[in-house]
Symmetry: C2
Amino acid sequence: MLQPPPAHPGMREDEIDTPALVIDLDAFEYNLDTMAAMIADKPVKLRAHAKTHKSPVIALQQMARGAVGQCVQKVAEAEILAWGGVPDILVSNEVVGALKLARLAALSKIARVAVCADDAPQIAAIAAAAENAGVRLSVLVEIDAGGKRCGVNSGPDAVALAQLIAASPHLRFGGLQAYHGSAQHLRQPAQRAAAIASAAEGCRRTVEQLRQVGLDCPIVGGAGTGTFMHEATSGVYTELQAGSYCFMDADYAANLDDAGKPVSTFRHALFVLGTVMSAARPGVAVLDIGHKAVAVDCGLPLVWQRPDVRYVGASDEHGTLNFGPETAAPKLGEKLRLVPGHCDPTVDRHEWYVGVRNGRVECLWPVAAHGAMF
Amino acid sequence: MLQPPPAHPGMREDEIDTPALVIDLDAFEYNLDTMAAMIADKPVKLRAHAKTHKSPVIALQQMARGAVGQCVQKVAEAEILAWGGVPDILVSNEVVGALKLARLAALSKIARVAVCADDAPQIAAIAAAAENAGVRLSVLVEIDAGGKRCGVNSGPDAVALAQLIAASPHLRFGGLQAYHGSAQHLRQPAQRAAAIASAAEGCRRTVEQLRQVGLDCPIVGGAGTGTFMHEATSGVYTELQAGSYCFMDADYAANLDDAGKPVSTFRHALFVLGTVMSAARPGVAVLDIGHKAVAVDCGLPLVWQRPDVRYVGASDEHGTLNFGPETAAPKLGEKLRLVPGHCDPTVDRHEWYVGVRNGRVECLWPVAAHGAMF
């Protein structure tokens, strides 16, 4: 279904219908500005990951601050961004199936589009799709940067695939995709630094071996919100793919900095606003925010600015809050903000962003690629 | 976004685009028939829970087999069902907020609509909405049947609310809502029996106390797929609210029967079909099914009819499969079915059901109330 928006501009925050996905616009813009400033003097560009925000509106704000383009994970996300005016898109993922590849090839007529591969048959399938559409597609080789998910080994395996790509008249070798996902939430800064140092070493070796066979490597892409300064200063990565930095979530905020404190580079800018729908029992309030409105795969949400109230359990449509006898009990009908544990899949539950500033609704943006699974 | 359907009628299953939500129509119809047969001679009716399927098409198939109506959790779900021809709908949940209550009151002009309450101010708000719309709304009192979520205590607290409802010229006392959610997945049958015996005792006492103050109790509603035969034979419950039985999921299939074996009353009828999108490393294959396509809040999905292949981890768009050296490795591009750990939120990730029989796509049904959060 297409849901009506839960608010209109000018409303007070407490008038927003719930559950609603709320952006604190001041914090959000602070995050965009902060990232742009932090990498301005580094030899890298930002290609922000749209899997977080799923919105061409937000993508264009990132590009206005210097991002060279966007990453996506699915062809449908690439379509939504291209149709919304984003000119340069990397599918930082494998795309398997003739139908999906035909869509990707068609899309490359209105935007610059690149895709990843980690297997020779995939490269042949991408070349066939490009030939059918009469286009030339840029293909990056994905290497396993340590996450043990997709990707070939760095070194000779990656070089062999790059040569296959470069040998096709319908393809262009775009570079290396080397995202280390499992490094992002290592809590200690030394762990994150070591993981990315190892990933960067694999990239460096591969770039050198590519050079030895006469192949230039235009892009070495990777990095997330947990590690991006390590990739930025690695000397080998050229593009950063951080996504969550624009919103932050409770899981990223649990990473520690060198002083042993929670990292505070970015601010919490994304919230799920809920209403207390039952307060019939002492010490308990029930919010209208359960699995359908917030993702709990990386931990339960936190109640914003209410450390005395804990979100203790989600069911499909309900979230249970507990609090002690000394706490001012949340009242029936009261609205509370939650900080999601994991922003990307939380955003995917919603169809609208409600942008708030100074307690008032300022804008409504569609979560345009909500549910874009193909 | 509204996604195009991932298939068309007549396709072979291996031609369906993925990720896709697939119904095995034979197993699904078996489940509907089995439930109808099991309660045919019991003093209860089925009011199946549409929070599972979110589809008027499925609702009407349940009603054709004897269900008296449907339950929903949200006003938006009630709207979708009523617009799809379902004539009798209970919101088995509290509805808080003037906007939502106005929609519910308006809806009662095209369908029989009832709602729950567990607090006096809610009852006043429902009465105001009914008065504004010029309708009379049926309100059930929710009692805490043991789940410690919403609901007042059984006995005098519930009777007091029932009297408030009955005293309003704009409301009608509809009965008791007494769903024991946390009993559904108690693994041992004796635990489930004891939990429902306790819930039924609270209902029985409350019905008796209502009678003493002159109030008839038209409905005593509750029960889920894990416990429904206990409510059906309790002598006090009159309506069963099972939802998952039509699909089953891995979590319900882990309940044990009296012989200590997994319950086998219903068949797995719901699957998420995925494609192997990376097979670059030995012992590992990556499916295109992660958090966006399958819910893992009640456990990871199982690979259907492939006990030698395990789904070991979900990220947003990827699912990692592990297998041993003796296994025939899933190949790049191969399609596999997963049995979701939890069917309700898995269905909510999708916009289309693909109905399959004998290896061919027979029908496409919209998940009409997908994302219905308000």
